[in-house]
Assembly symmetry: none
Homo-oligomer: 240 residues x 4
DNA sequence: GATGAATGAGAATTCATTCAT
DNA sequence: GATGAATGAATTCTCATTCAT
């Protein structure tokens, strides 16, 4: 054992690779035990290095978590803007953003719990890149709402901040049990329900002059859904 | 000095009073420093007892927090049901529940942060009385929605869980910065906006215009069939 | 062994006694190994308690050293002022102070090394009680000099600070090797020599012979004038 | 960026130059942070090399400090013996040595603190070249005293070691606050005061047969000062 | 009922030094 | 000659909880 350890000792890796290995190990340990319960000793063992080596790459345990989460976030957000471009129609675009958000929480509940319950309450969170990445995502979602307003689908007096809070708050609340491994949820169904509720909640109402607006709106939405189906990428995702 | 301390020491209090004193002290310390950072030593000092005494009343520090929060919750929820009885109209009743929730978060951000960020993530939370008290509050809110449905104001296919998640998720998201002392919000304005959005989102559409809805409905059903043909899985989910 | 340790475990002592025991142990360990090399673990073992207990009495290892040194200092200085009262004559009184200082260094070289080499260089030293205790001792010594001036034994232009620096600096320099256990010295002989040198250095000159000093003084003033002409700046300094 | 770093890396320097660069960097880091707080990593960065390179030139961090200090010492002491030759008269020669010592401490307090507080307490100090260089300086100073004895100016029973301790101890004590950046001092004024005190303390006293010795001594000193003024080098320094 | 002395098992972090490349 | 990745032992301080008095 000791011999093996010794042998291992001089397994030199380029900086980037070692860093990646540590981050993989850290992610796994953090996710399975939570930040506090994860000890640097355990992470080091999982990474196949000694504790001291960790500190050559990350100044503190906290920083290590932050880097791990940043990496995760970047991977997640890297292409959603591109994907969004392929989706047409306000309802579909809105649903795409909501569904995407829910899907991430569904696919990686441990990591999301880590972010939501451990990292986000930290004071430094608001100065972190994660916060900014998150803001970008949020803004993209609100941009869709703004398009809806500009296009006349939505009322003009939409309280954007509240809408944002409703969408992301609902997602968080809805996935709560799942993040704790105490329940399940369907990203699809939830995305539909949230999107519908928000959509109808923001919809421009029939002025006296648009008496039949309600039904027309419904028709419009049906058409939009068809448009959405016509978008190849959307379809792929849907069937995934 | 020593004499005074000695004198103090003999201040025997009835069990209830001592307990109350400890809880007051604990609440103050927990709120100002957070659960982890609050030490039993500090709480003991604030309560004017020694650490050992704490353990005569509360088996663990965790239990102490739970008791403190329970007390807070009970005080908050004690009369809202009575108050709700005095409010008429679905919109008003809904707004009352939302506003009440937001007001508590506005008035006592420290305690709410404690609940939301510290206590709720605990595994034992779902078995705690706080959870059940919270459920009762939640159910009361949903009861208002159900009344709306029963009264014909709201659609019949309202996804109640999602509505609940939107309301409470929105409240949480909206007050996030305030709980961290990094921002402010208006309970009134937020309650209005959330209520409006939810209300409109759930509203049954076009009663008077119902007459001309028939063909449109047929049309929409046709569209839905088309969608179903295009993405079989989607349909399955939707009907789930 | 473990059984014995367990048995020991509940050996409860009043606060003062336990504190005293820890300080005795700490003093011994600090003295024999130096501050840095002394580990809290070792001190705890020597004191017969666990490490945690140390921290119930002293907030940090540094504080522990400070308290240990303070106690030592107080014991040393407690009665020297009384003792000084029993000594008559400037030379004797001066010698007493110097001898006392040297004697302490002779008797407790480890502790003195600790103070001189470890504690004194710390930034907090000047705000410590030790510093003030030391000042008091220093002042008492200078008071003797002042008496000598007042009594006409010493010149009136004695540079007190420099005298202080010479006395205590000499003591430190002279005992240097001894504190390092690399040499010996005689407090008596050293006290004599230092006292004599200081005494003669401060002595007022030629009272009886004063009569013939007049012309010589004139001569010297002339020389000083010459000097002043040669190096104007120098003169300025000197007269400052 | 990376390219530049690579380019830099190949900057092969002759052994001496690299060594010199490292020593300059080390000196700066040691002086500003102290020995313990200075990390080899920081020194390496300051020197523009990697840590490993340091160890190609200096076996340990301790050795590096020693070398740095040795270099400093040699530069300081290189010409003082020559300079001393240009100074005439016991008083002046003595003052020159003291003033020189004080001036170094005034000019380079960081380095002196390093020597006095960090390096000198080390066990290896007495075996280091610095110790011997220092001894040489000390001996030169005592040589001046010996000249004074030989010339009849000083008593014959002068305790040389004590005189040495008084001079250098006084210097150290007097500069103490300055080395800690907590105070100032004037090398000129201090040199005058110390020299005078030592001089008078060692002065041969009027035997009965030399009743007027006191005044003559004063005259002698005045003359000596004149001699000092006649020495060109001395004068330069003085007026500097 | 109250005290308060004592526990004890960590856990994160530091950094001089080595040596394969 | 220079690199720079990796080591690894060592250390202070924390604090909820216990239990003899």
């Amino acid at each position: 054992m000791k011999g093996a350890a010794r042998a291992r000792r001089r397994e030199r890796l380029p900086r980037d690779e070692r860093m990646a290995e540590i981050m993989v190990a850290a992610r796994q340990v953090f996710c399975s035990k939570g930040y506090e319960a994860a000890s640097t000793a355990e992470i080091a063992v999982a990474a196949g290095v000694v504790e001291g080596t960790l500190y050559r790459y990350f100044p503190t345990k906290r920083d290590l978590l932050i880097k791990v989460v940043e990496e995760f976030y970047e991977a997640i957000l890297s292409d959603y803007e591109a994907q969004l471009k392929g989706v047409r129609g306000t309802w579909n675009r809105l649903r795409f953003m909501i569904w995407k958000h829910l899907s991430v929480m569904h696919a990686d509940p441990d990591m999301c719990r880590l972010i939501v319950h451990e990292l986000r309450p930290w004071p430094e969170y608001r100065r972190s890149r994660i916060f900014r990445l998150n803001q970008r995502y949020t803004q993209s979602t609100l941009a869709v709402i703004r398009e809806g307003i500009a296009g006349g689908e939505f009322r003009e007096d939409v309280p954007l901040r509240i809408v944002r809070d409703m969408i992301f708050g609902a997602a968080e609340h809805h996935t709560w049990a799942h993040l704790r491994k105490e329940g399940e949820f369907s990203p699809d169904a939830a995305a539909d329900a949230i999107t519908n509720l928000i959509y109808q909640g923001l919809e421009r109402r029939g002025h006296p002059a648009r008496s039949s607006g309600v039904e027309l709106n419904r028709l419009e939405r049906a058409v939009q859904r068809l448009e959405g189906l016509a978008t190849p990428r959307r379809r792929k995702r849907r069937s995934a």
